[in-house]
Amino acid sequence: MNVKDCRKVYILIMIICIIGVTIGGCGERKIAPQGTGETGKRGGVLRVALTGELRSLDPARVGDTASGLIAEQIYNGLVEFDNELKICPSLAESWNVTEDGKVWTFNLRPDVRFQDDPSFPGGKGRKLTAGDFKYSFERITNANTLSTGWWLFNGKIKGANEYREENALAEKEKRESRIKEVEGFKVLDDWTFQIELTHPFAPFINLMAMSYTWVVPKEAVEYYGKDFFKHPVGTGPFRLEEWSPGLRVILKKNPDYWERDEDGVPLPYLNEINIRILRDNLVAFMEFDKGNFDFSGIPPEVWGQVMTKDNKLTSKYQKYQLIKSSSLDTGYYGFMMTQSPLGTNKELRQAFNYAIDRQSIIDNILNGRGIPAKGVLPPEMPGFNKELKGYGYEPARAKELLTKAGFPNGDGMGEITLQLNSGGTTLEDVAEAIQDQLKKVGIKVKLSIVSWPQHLDSVDRGTPQFFRMGWVADYPDPENFLALFYSKNFSPEGPNSTRFSNEEFDRLFEKALHLTDFDERVKLYQKAEEIVVDEAPWLFISHGVGYVLLQPYVRNMAFPPMAINRYKVVWLENRDSP
């Protein structure tokens, strides 16, 4: 074979590879590292700093970030998000939905076992069946479980609300429930699970990737009773070895885990994850810099030492890998729409929005870790509208609008109270910057700093006229953000904390829920978002951007939006197993 022939063969191989990569599987399956089958690239202990205390490892009550990070390694659900936030198969190999969008059928993998646990006969984990999903989902539905995830099914699943109400009543009256199961959760056979919705809900498949829907075995829940939260048993890549509250969590590789990488090598690659619970990001960073953790964020206190002005690593820190990650969140200050003058005067709210120099806040207070918010949806969110202009920094226009609103130079408006929660100097610094910028156009703002419980409670009651808040996506669908403006979602019943109400918005929002074509839905959501931006129930501020440092030997670690941490595909180069 001459050189020319070699080149042809090479090109042919490349084409085959490209086609293979393009049509094969989803993102997560593509990120398997080269040559992971090599023995030197398996094993080892990942050392993680967790700056927060765990609350519960019961999927029915996993709501906080710290617990979610651990539980994610222990459990699986029907589907999961890949690094590009697309839905991928997990315990369901495939699924289909009827044309009317109401009946979802999931075909489960037949080779999945629960982790070994004393709650099973002989301590050996048994095979997963569709009945386990029915049990897990009915458990969330049952009012007596007090799950924080009931909102996922509320009003969406056939027979779920009836089941919940009857069970709650039966518990109160101390009798047997007359409704034994949720009509909409059906076991067709051992490997087929079906869910029937009351009405089409376009983003439904996203809900099936959320932590609340991870599957648990009935045996373990009943065996451990109220203490199940600290004895998690799932089907995931790692099992809980130790949880010392306030100190550490140790996860060990699940030797029976069902998933393999592209080369057929069983996952996870790591033998162990050693998580130390800390309280301070600065301490975590210092320990990372001493080589005691494998990755760390960059706290504001050391930002200038670690990063240059153009957000690159300074020479001292260039030994580390730097990963930029954006999060699906929007920071905003809400105007209580039920209160005058802010809630009743659109020009006034628009004036606030034009008076704010978002970029200056991001540059000077957030160390460049943010993107100015032009609207409701963060840029990484599918359906993000690049054409949306939003509000720029135009103080002259803000003054014009103030005059139009009936308050020239802020006269006659009095002092507006901005309520925010305590819990970090950054929050207060941002609030003070906004107070200062508003003052420049004549708007006087007084800050009221209260504890988080007080803040949440008063916003629920509709008391503060102007308040700090933020929203982090539960799932990557515009519906999750725009639900904050739907008039049937007023707080405290729903997440619409500003009590925004607009008939046209509601019409577009409801119409989009019934469509199955994502592009069609996006068109409606973008129109709905334009209404929100024009009406300005929020003072739009920023979307978060994060930077993470990795030790040089860490491979395959990704920080996709929504804080998904799949340690099952992480490996450590030249680090032998302990």
Binding site: A143, W151, F229, K230, L247, R276, D280, A284, E287, P492
Partner: protein, 310 residues
């Protein structure tokens, strides 16, 4: 003696009741809804109400308080609102860490504080005495949380001699103990040093010290055997109350060093508005305080034969 202990324990009951009452009252009227916090912002009102019913949070505060007392009389502190863990279990799990830190900082304070006091008293108004007392004054005036942050920065980050956070059992855990024990123990160390000095100076003026010297006893024997023993009574009083303080006042130091003790648990309980856990910790710490004070009183009797408890 037993009657005295029993009487002191009985006297502690109204103190504990008072503490729980004030805490309950303050927590209840602090504002905020613990049920909303526990159930998350996405939960509907009905779910939040179910939670309140389940935990009795829908009842008037005095009814909740009486229910709490009733359970308390059976040794039941309830379960945490945020984690569902038994409150007593949570506290008992964390207490060994707090105890370890408290004892280490007390040992640090005694081992250094008393000798410093003796050295100062032996050479009063000398340069060494003045220098040690200025340092002691700084030690008393510097809050432990501030000192803790300085230690973290200097020894943990700049010099990198010691880990700034962590906990382990056995000898391996010693490296984690050093910085928090110093941060917590420096205040009591300074107090012990100043107290030992003043107490020693007073005793050194007594006639029996003069007699001892006149008998030609060695100076070190006069100081250590005759002066120190009699100076220690007042120091022991302060050591006892410091012990209670060290076991219950570790909030900031535990937070800074990520030390998994009761202080850290309390910080979590307060930020989560976890009423049963807050009350459980307050009760536990109050009992510690009462017991430590009784223990100090009993120690007097052993140190000073003139003291008798009827």
């Amino acid at each position: 003696m037993y009657q005295y202990i029993l009487r002191r324990l009985l006297q502690a009951i109204p103190v504990l009741l008072g503490v729980t009452f004030v805490t309950y009252f303050l927590v209840f009227y602090a504002g905020g809804d613990p049920a909303r916090l526990a159930m998350g912002v996405r939960s509907d009102l009905a779910t939040v109400e179910s939670f309140k019913e389940e935990w009795g949070l829908d009842k008037p505060w005095h009814v909740q308080y009486l229910t709490f007392l009733k359970k308390l009389s059976h040794g039941d502190l309830g379960r945490s609102l945020s984690t569902n863990e038994e409150v007593l279990l949570s506290i008992l799990e964390r207490f060994p860490a707090t105890f370890k830190l408290g004892m280490a900082s007390l040992a640090f304070a005694i081992i250094l504080g008393i000798p410093i006091g003796i050295i100062s008293a032996v050479k009063p108004r000398s340069f060494l005495d003045n220098a040690l007392m200025v340092v002691a004054l700084l030690g008393i005036s510097t809050p432990s949380f501030f000192f803790g942050v300085i230690l973290v920065w200097v020894f943990g980050y700049l010099l990198r001699w010691l880990p700034v956070s962590g906990f382990d059992t056995g000898l391996a855990g010693f490296q984690y103990l050093i910085l928090p024990a110093i941060a917590l123990g420096t205040g009591p160390l300074a107090i012990f040093a100043r107290l030992t000095r003043s107490s020693m100076l007073e005793v050194m003026r007594q006639e029996y010290i003069l007699t001892a010297r006149a008998k030609g006893l060695d100076e070190s024997r006069v100081i250590l055997k005759h002066a120190l023993k009699n100076s220690l009574i007042s120091v022991v009083t302060v050591i006892g109350s410091s012990l209670a303080g060290l076991l219950s006042g570790t909030f900031f130091v535990e937070f800074i060093f990520g030390w998994p003790g009761i202080g850290l648990l309390a910080v979590d309980a307060i930020s989560n508005f976890d009423i049963p856990l807050i009350l459980g910790i307050v009760i536990f710490e109050s009992i510690l305080f009462v017991v430590a004070n009784i223990a100090v009183d009993i120690t007097y009797a052993f140190l000073d034969p003139r003291i008798h408890y009827e």
